[in-house]
Symmetry: C2
Subunit: 338 residues, 2 copies
């Protein structure tokens, strides 16, 4: 295979002052990088984008680190090794890693995971990627949902949420999903098999939410924080668990809201556990999660949703759409052919 002389990269042009815009990014051409000792050159096949990456662009502390203007935007992708292999890694292997938003990248061989080429890049980045694995451990290890319990998830049509709800359903819970439109709410029930889908923007949301949780809430899987978290706290059962997974309501703003009322009083009165987690804490068990998720997919009990974009240049728009709640499922930006 012949390499081009240059490749496309998406840079952070400026940190967003308030809501993210596509103008916060710019595309440039750059020379193909050269791998050093222990490194390989990879050609990006597809990337995904997580809402949590917006937090890093606030310039404040976050698990995503602190990107700055002028740097290539970071991100997770699936890529093909195009240089000579290193160790067990061979030319032509399909790998999962931190490619960033660019057509070619140099990565350390030890940071890469070889993935099964018979599974789509979208599945590797979505339901079997960090999003799906996050949902799996959040539901099973943090939420510890039991059969017959009421499970509520926010941003339920999102990349983590749509998997979390289906995992809880597979484990026997009654599943209520909260999304940002009537269409998404209907999709949760009709396409994904949730018991109830709610539109948080509906004028009747408060009543709908109460009606949908007649036995209150045993596990609330929180992807948003903010008002939805507060509403859920007031509906928790005794010994309920709040899985703190993401803070989507706070990412795309320069003025985060106040904390939820009822903290800590409601936690005490109802003996509620509220626990934050990052998927990286379960790194030793990713294979277990992927095996279970794959088994559910094969059995038709888990359906992966993706929001598909074509071409690296569409990545900024995919990110803006994600934060605006325009799309459902895991954003997948197809960068090159497989």
């Amino acid at each position: 295979m012949t390499l081009p002389a240059e490749h496309r990269q998406v840079l952070i042009a400026s940190l967003p002052a308030d809501r993210l815009q596509t103008s916060n990014f710019e595309v440039r051409m750059a020379p193909i990088p050269v791998p050093g000792e222990g490194e390989v050159l990879c050609r990006t096949v597809a990337i995904t984008i997580g809402a949590g990456q917006r937090a890093g662009l606030q310039g404040s502390a976050s698990y995503a680190g602190a990107p700055e203007a002028g740097r290539v935007m970071g991100g997770t992708g699936v890529a093909e090794v195009v240089s000579a292999g290193v160790g067990a890694l061979r030319t032509g292997d399909l790998v999962w890693g931190q490619t960033g938003w660019q057509e070619y990248s140099v990565m350390r061989a030890k940071d890469l995971t070889v993935v099964d080429p018979s599974v789509s890049a979208a599945d590797h980045l979505g339901v079997l990627g960090l999003n799906g694995v996050t949902a799996y451990f959040g539901v099973t290890e943090i939420g510890r949902v039991q059969s017959g319990e009421t499970f509520v998830v926010s941003a339920a049509a999102g990349s983590v949420g749509h998997v979390a709800g289906q995992v809880a359903k597979a484990l026997g819970a009654r599943v209520v999903g909260i999304a940002g439109s009537d269409e998404k709410a209907a999709m949760l029930v009709d396409v994904l098999g949730f018991d109830v889908g709610l539109n948080r923007k509906s004028a009747d949301f408060r009543n709908d939410f109460r009606a949908a949780t007649p036995n209150r809430i045993d596990v609330y899987f929180d992807n948003t924080g903010g008002e939805l978290l507060e509403s859920a706290l007031f509906r928790m059962n005794q010994y309920g668990r709040v899985v703190c997974c993401g803070v989507a309501s706070q990412y795309d703003t320069s003025t985060p809201g106040p904390g939820p009322r009822g903290v800590p009083g409601l936690l005490v009165n109802n003996r509620v556990r509220m626990e934050g987690f990052l998927v990286f804490d379960f790194e030793q068990r990713y294979a277990e999660a992927r095996a279970q998720l794959s088994a559910w997919m094969s059995a038709g009990r888990l359906r992966a949703l993706t929001a598909d974009y074509v071409g690296l240049d569409s990545a900024p728009q995919a990110f803006v759409d994600l934060l605006a709640g325009v799309t459902s499922g895991t954003p997948i930006v197809q960068v090159g052919s497989t």
Copy 2:
């Protein structure tokens, strides 16, 4: 023993509109009640008061129930059985139960716990009572403090706080207590052996708090909620635990403040667990807690503090003082002789 014809009771005269006042209570004389089937008449020796009882007077939902004007104020006490015994319970037994604020009470025999008459009523109601047992399980089961960790407790001179700090110290933690005056802060170190005592009202509190937690906080035992909880959340270590035990900052007001900023974002980034509990959940294990607390007292590693009041009529003032943070330790109102 001859019974008097009447006895004193303290009634709730009115629910407090804002801060509790002694005028929210009134003393009246009432006939000595007559026990029915399975009940005994008891003469109150001493009662204690918990800040959480203020929540019930807000008329809103709380684990303390919802007292109303015209009723005898509820409360925990140690009393002597003065009627004929029931089952294993005998005349003259010293018992622990829900006496309420009155000189005599009728209680169901099965709701009473016989206590050791060689231990003071103050210890039965304080360090070996629900306050001490709350501290014990909060530290060991919810906070799960480990030797060498940094443990911070708010309302540290209070009935639960002063025991919690000493329990954590006995378990090998570095203990920082936060109280409401310089005198209390000094007492925590000088009398109770805490590593650091801080005055939350000091102008330098924020800096003092940071300086006192150079390795950040592993367990924060929260008796207050509000601003202190928020400050602690910003100092938590990864995998830190927040023990939600009480909400003293919110009890004595009609306008509870907003929730703490940083919830849930900080919980996610630092993988923090925040968990509410009520001591009643550990009822099957009270004996275990009391045995350990007694052993530490005998070994000189645990010192019980009390704020002593004499006479039932002083109970309203004791409650007001407790909420105002005037006193240290467990409020004990001596009602009758032992």
